[in-house]
Structure formats: structure tokens, C-alpha cells
Symmetry: C2
Subunit: 331 residues, 2 copies
Amino acid sequence: MNMKKVLVTGDRPSGKLHLGHYVGSLLNRVKMQADHETYIMIADVQALTDHFATPDLITKNVHEITRDYLSVGINPELSNIYIQSQIPEIAELTIYYMNLVTVSRLERNPTIKTEIAQKNMEDSILVGFLCYPINQAADITILGADIVPTGEDQFPMIEQTNEIVRKFNRIYNTNILKECSCLVGSTGRLPGIDGKKKASKSLGNAISLADDSTTVKEKIWNMFTDPNHLKVNDKGRVEGNVVFTYLDIFHENKDEVSALKDHYQKGGLGDVKLKSLLYEDIESVLTPIREKRQTLTNKQVIDVLQNGTQNARKKAQSVLHSVRNVIGFNY
Amino acid sequence: MNMKKVLVTGDRPSGKLHLGHYVGSLLNRVKMQADHETYIMIADVQALTDHFATPDLITKNVHEITRDYLSVGINPELSNIYIQSQIPEIAELTIYYMNLVTVSRLERNPTIKTEIAQKNMEDSILVGFLCYPINQAADITILGADIVPTGEDQFPMIEQTNEIVRKFNRIYNTNILKECSCLVGSTGRLPGIDGKKKASKSLGNAISLADDSTTVKEKIWNMFTDPNHLKVNDKGRVEGNVVFTYLDIFHENKDEVSALKDHYQKGGLGDVKLKSLLYEDIESVLTPIREKRQTLTNKQVIDVLQNGTQNARKKAQSVLHSVRNVIGFNY
């Protein structure tokens, strides 16, 4: 009997994974996969809510993102990597959940509210976008998730999921659906190299796991530091200085980072020296990832996805069967 | 090569079918089935949008409604009778369509607006209810419908369906989805025996196709006529008199109905005489239906549903495959 807790997580395949994903979620997945029944979803259907008019932006990344996973140490013997669109049971469960949620509840979902404001779409909210928390609740519950690793901004999504679970179980007088818990990563969000926003697949301000050394160097050399730190001897600012934010995370010797910050603030420490140091640190992270990627064949990637999708689908079918049973739709 | 036009229609299994369905749609389906590739959907998923908390109200009627169909002359060799929930491809297509429709467009749908007002649910509109036009667009298009027989109040639904078709074909630069046409029945809505509203499965004011003679007699004897027509010699009103509305539809000799109306308006014609005449007319409609129903075995009903569902699903799978192809989700 499998007593491991079920962990469900995933990414939208709208671009290559980058260092932000690495420290924010991937490392953690690698760490947890041995002790958890792990499902990693490539959320192509969810990505469609933003990119329905350019679906090839999504589909071309599905294999790439799988390579990213395998390269960082996701072990397909321990983690099931699967494609959302290949589990049609999620769509069916979503339709059933849609009867349990009011439109105004969705409109009050803080994550949705923020995104609507960010995207300036008050007057043209697409139904798929408004409803993606319901779709996500189906993603999570159809695999019987216990744990969903997530950023703090996604708390409202988990809350909405658990609300649906409680309502379903109450209405149908059952306990087949499980509530889940959030698991917040220890690392905050990695800023973009431009220092303005978080590192993002779509903004092009991130160091991708698949970047070669030349590209990494170029990106680090363009990294935002302190725009007023013009000469080596100028006093420099540490706050908002992306190179230091990255060093805080990637440089092992924390005392050394502390000393460098002092030096930089007093003046006499040049950006190039710092950037060279960071470059070495990042390269020591990316080199083994690149080497692993080199060994991956197309067939391996396809096999991993087929296998993971098969496992996830089997579980999804069994949960959906129970759901249809309590509704009475298994004629 | 099958050159017949595809006709898609159906009913929510939230109660027994009645005379309103018979004259409003069933007779027409029987007439059209030889010349059309006909699909008749038992819309259990759609019925769930109103009855999610009492699903057995829906599920217990699925076999009953199939018996209604077969009893009135729907021929399972010509018409595919199928259960909506057994075609999961509809759910999947609905999810894809949700990215093509704005929330405000749904809120402007006149059918939805009217129903929201009728049901007093402005503040608590359920997502499943608001989105059912999208679900219905999937029902219709996943079978490549050319013709959808419908009441006038459902025009906005067909309009919404065709809007989705055009948007999908434009965005994905394809012509795989087909627009459909409405077909409005010749008979208006049959009023309920109470004369207040239309005959309705849920209001209990209709003569069901499965009613026995005693029940039919009782319902006709309780039918709303003219509340001021107390004595036989009183002058009576024809307008709003349900017995006359039914005689207009069910009594073959239209001249006789005309003469009866004159007589009634002048006074001297009693309700009982009229009701006896109507009772005979209705019984002559219902008797062969009852006789046919008697011959139907459980196994026949199950076979008809299995067969019809299999045929509908095969077609749905092929359309969904094309949809996934243009999006790029057949990896």
C-alpha cells in the first residue's frame, strides 16, 4: 500500500524554464520526489487561456520543458511528468465544478483580480481566464493532491480549491474529494536581470536553464546593478542591485557575500568583479544541467511523457469515476 | 457517402415528456428523421446546471425519456438517442471554447438574462449556468450540426454558437467547424392546464405522454376554461380558455372547433361537453403511444442508448480530433 502523500505541481509551457524556477520550485521538487507520489503537470490547456491565438507558443515548449525537468534531476521513476491536455478527465471534472461556484466568487478571487488589473482586461475578461481557478481545482483534486507547492500569490487558488472540495463533499454527502495544503518555497521570487520585475519566461529577462555560457555571460554583464555606480571608486547601492540578490542565493560562502556588500557600499569594488563571481556561481549550477541535457534523446523525452501521462490519467480516471458515481452519471 | 444534413436536438431529463413536447418537437423529429442524420441528446449535464444538488431527479428520468421517444415513433435505426454525460469530448470542447467568449458577452445573452431574472439569481449566478450557452455550442458543433430545431426563445443560443464557430475558424485559420441554422416549429408553445404558464415538466401542469387514461381525464376536467362561465347558458370566453387552445391543436375538424367557439361565446355550451371532446382527441393521440410503450423492454431501452451514444461519440471524437489538431494538442 502506497502511504506517500500526493504532491501535485506544474508549469505552463509558455517558455523555457529559468533560474527563477530552479530556486523557486525545481530544486524543491527534486528534493521531495523520493518521499512523495509526485505529479508534475505541463499545463498546456491552462496556458491556452492566455495564448489561445498562438498555441504553437505552447506546444513547441512541451518537450523543451520536459528536458528542463529531466536536466535538473527530476527522476521519471519517482515523478510523473504529464501533459494536461492528455487528461480529458480534467475538463469533465471542471464542468461539474462549475455548478458549485458563483461568478461573483470568481471575480472576488484576489489572484484573478490582480491579473485582470495587470492585463487591463476589465471589459473583455474571457470566460476561460475567469474560470481557470475552477480548472485548477480540477487539476489538483483529480489526482487526490495532499500538497501543492506554490507561491504566496497562489494561496487564493488553493483556498478556492478547498472551498469546492468542501461544497462537493457536502452536497453529495461523500468524502471522496480531498482538501490540500499549500507548501511555500523558502526562496522568494528571483528578480529579472532588468531589476524591474520578477524573472519571467515571457519578459525575456531571465537566465534560462538551457542558455549556453556565452548567453549567460551576456545576460549577467547586462544585469541591473546601481545606475549611479559609474566608477569603481564610487559608493554603490546593494538594495535593488540584482547581482547581489543573485549572489545571496547562488554564492555558497555567505560571509564572503557580506564582505563584498560592505566593500561595494564603501566604494572600490567594480561591477565586473562581482559579475565575474556571479558568472562562476551560475555556471557551476548550469554546467551539470547542460551536461545532463546533452544525454537526453527525443525518444527518452517522449517515453517519459507517455509514461507519466499514463500514470496520471489512470489516477484521474479513478477519481472521476467516483465523482460520476456520487452524481449518478455511471449509467 | 452520406449527404443527409445533420440534425441535433434534445431534452433535459428533468421530468417526463408531455403533450407540449409532442406537438412542439417530437412529431417534427419523427417526420424529419428519415431525411436527416439525427442526434437526440438527453442533456443530463446541462440539467445539472439547475439540479446539481438533486441529481437523481435527472438520472431517474434518462430511461423514461428514452421510452417517451421510442413510444412516439422515434426510430432508433434512423435517430441516435444518446446521453450527454457519456460524451466527455463535449466537456473538452467546452473548455477550448471558453477562451473565445467574454464574460460580458454571456451576460448579454438574452436567454441567459431572462432566466437570471426569472430565477432571481442576480447575486448568485453559478458559473455552470452562465456558461451553459458555451456548453451548448459544444453540444451542437461537436456533431457538425446543420440544423437545430428550436423555440424562438433559443435563437440567441444559436447566434452565440455561430459566433464561436466563426471566431474559432478565424483564429485557427480553418473551416473545420460548421455554422448551423435554427428550425422553428410550426406550433407555438402549449399552455399548461392551469392556463397560467406554458406546460412544463417541473410545474406539474402538463399532460405527460405516460399518463394513464384516468389521469388524463382528471387533468382535462381540471383544465382552466373561463372562470366566469358558471352555468351552461352563460356566455363564455374563448381567449385564454385552455380547452379551446388544446382543441385548436388536437381536434382534426377545424370547422367543428370554429362552430363550438361560436356556440360557447353565445352561451348554451357546457365545459363538460367540450372537455369530453378534448379527452377523446387526446386519448386518440396517447393510446398508440401507450401501446408502443407497453412493448418496450428494459434491454431494448439500454441497447438504444448504448448504440446511439456510441454513434454520437464516434462522431464527436472525430470532430474533437480535428479541433485538437488545429490547436496542436495531438502531440
